[in-house]
């Protein structure tokens, strides 16, 4: 019995450790000098990590690597003990919910068909009725009921973005990757979607990487903030729990929020 417990305990304790996203000496080079890294990161599971950095710091490249979209990279990138493949192997074991900057909806499929397609690929073992219910539920949570039959062209930017987010959540991903998803939206739409994103994530937590160039957005959403600098150097990892656990309504007006924003601006200035 004791022996059994001894075996069980470390595996339970190690679970979140196992599920961590770990980068070791991650380097991406297209032949004209490194685009990213060398980068070392250790991000425990089930957290929202916002990735900040000026353009050219490799934010999007990091996200692409995590999505398994890069043909090759140096070093290693591991999620839950399994390497994220260079290319194809990624999705087979690690479910990735990707929300690209341009929303990435297939223009020839309606809102619900876009989610259906993703579910069919990500969850082939589930029956059709269950997938359909999942798709409808997430569209409803995103406030898109009644628009499921629309083609992306007949939706506004904010609506398209919500379809993309619904799709990413619907597959119940291990890794949720968002690449500056709100950068093309107006301020009011953006704030609404930030809140919606946080609510959805609380309902269904996963390891979320959120790339942004907006310092305030990074502070508002992230549990930890990863700051990449343009010159190859170690990323700065900032603990943001003090803001993360504030109530959503208070965040923007809270003193801690301002302080954290100032703090990060200073780091970004000096890190350059």
């Amino acid at each position: 019995m004791e022996k059994e417990a001894a075996i069980l305990t470390p595996s339970v304790a190690g679970k979140s450790e196992d599920q961590a996203l770990v980068a070791r000496a991650l380097t991406v080079d297209y032949g004209e000098g490194p685009v990213l890294g060398p980068l070392d990161l250790h991000l425990p599971a089930q957290g929202i990590y916002t990735v900040l950095g000026p353009s050219g710091s490799g934010k999007s490249t990091l996200l692409k690597a995590a999505a398994g979209l890069l043909p090759g990279f140096g070093g290693s990138l591991i999620y839950g003990g399994r390497p994220i493949g260079s290319g194809k192997a990624a999705g087979a074991e690690i479910r990735v919910g990707l929300v690209p900057q341009n929303y990435g909806l297939l223009p020839w499929q309606t809102a619900i068909a876009n989610i259906r397609t993703a579910l069919k690929i990500a969850r082939p073992d589930e029956d059709r009725a269950r997938r359909e219910a999942t798709a409808l539920r997430w569209l409803e949570l995103m406030g898109l009921s009644g628009l499921e039959g629309r083609y992306p062209r007949a939706l506004s930017g904010g609506q398209q973005q919500r379809v993309a987010i619904a799709r990413a959540f619907a597959i119940r991903p291990d890794l949720l990757l968002l690449d500056e998803p709100f950068s093309a939206l107006d301020a009011v739409t953006r704030e609404g979607l930030q809140r919606l994103l946080l609510e959805s994530w609380r309902q269904q937590p996963s390891t979320m990487l959120f790339v942004t160039h907006d310092v305030e957005e990074a502070v508002l959403l992230g549990r930890k903030i990863v700051i990449l600098t343009s010159s190859a150097g170690h990323p700065v990892l900032i603990d943001n729990e003090s803001v993360f656990f504030l109530a959503d309504e208070d965040k923007r007006d809270h003193e801690t929020f301002y302080e954290q924003t100032r703090h990060i601006r200073r780091i970004m200035r000096e890190g350059r």
Partner: protein, 287 residues
């Protein structure tokens, strides 16, 4: 039709951000009605325009026929009388035979052309290899190869179908390749990150993405295929629209000849409409 879509879009844009499902669905319901009405009236005007062109052409034809007063251009009335006197079963066989050849030729061209076009569009290596081949052979006037096709394949169906396919296949290859190339690479990102296989990517992205250029190729091909068909039906057959027209001509049966030409055009027009309907069904997302 256009204005209907615009209002729909702008109203959806104003309303949607409040994430209020009630108002969203109300908007879509309210705007779907006028857009449908517009579509019907748009279809009506289109039909009216086609009809008026049809009538004007016939009036012109009648005028020229009346002015010429020669056997080689009978009046529309005479031709239509000849048209309705034609043996239905016989003409059905002629039309059926011709359609069979056209469809077989187009199908063959599409199969080969899609395969090569997709290959060249998706793989730079295959494109490098095949591009010079296409570039070099494209300008050859393929109709000049008709005797060669007859020598190798005989006078029967094979040479006719291959001839049609041969002429069409190059434009299919080129437009499919360009259509596939025009799909932005990042369109594949989300499905790739989900671990989609080749087949899923092909059916969900490559094919629908290239469908619009495939359909416009088919539209152009249809006209070309009919012209080639006419040539190939001059020899080695006793059925088909081309054969019928040439036969009537040689018998100096001018009303019959014109009746054949009318029928041939009518069939061509129907196929054209068919492609349009197909496009309307599958290209809805672009409207």
């Amino acid at each position: 039709m256009k204005s209907g879509n615009n209002t729909e879009k702008s109203r959806a844009g104003n309303n949607g951000e409040k994430s209020n499902p009630e108002s969203d669905s109300a908007t879509s319901r309210a705007t779907s009605r006028p857009s449908r009405n517009n579509r019907i009236s748009g279809f009506g005007t289109m039909l009216l325009r086609l009809l008026s062109v049809f009538v004007v052409l016939h009036v012109l034809w009648g005028l020229i026929a009346a002015l010429l007063k020669r056997d080689m251009l009978p009046s529309p009335l005479v031709v239509y009388r000849a048209l309705f006197k034609l043996d239905g079963g016989d003409m059905l066989l002629n039309i059926g035979t011709s359609m069979g050849r056209v469809f077989a030729g187009i199908a063959l061209a599409l199969i080969v052309g899609l395969l090569l076009g997709l290959l060249m569009g998706r793989s730079p290596r295959w494109n490098r290899l095949l591009d010079p081949v296409v570039y070099l052979t494209y300008p050859i006037p393929k109709i000049a190869l008709l005797p060669v096709a007859m020598l190798f394949l005989g006078l029967g169906e094979a040479s006719k179908i291959v001839m049609i396919a041969l002429i069409l296949v190059f434009q299919v290859i080129i437009s499919v390749r360009d259509g596939v190339k025009a799909i932005p690479a990042n369109t594949y990102d989300v499905l790739t990150s989900l671990g989609a296989g080749r087949m899923a990517k092909f059916t969900q992205i490559t094919l629908p993405g290239a469908l619009s250029s495939i359909l416009s190729t088919i539209r152009i091909s249809l006209g070309t295929a009919f012209s080639v068909l006419f040539f190939t039906e001059i020899y080695g057959t006793e059925h088909g629209m081309g054969y019928f027209i040439m036969d009537a001509w040689l018998r100096l049966d001018y009303p019959g000849m014109y009746a054949g030409i009318l029928l041939f055009s009518g069939v061509g027009f129907l196929l054209f409409v068919l492609v349009d309907l197909f496009e309307h069904r599958f290209m809805k997302w672009r409207a």
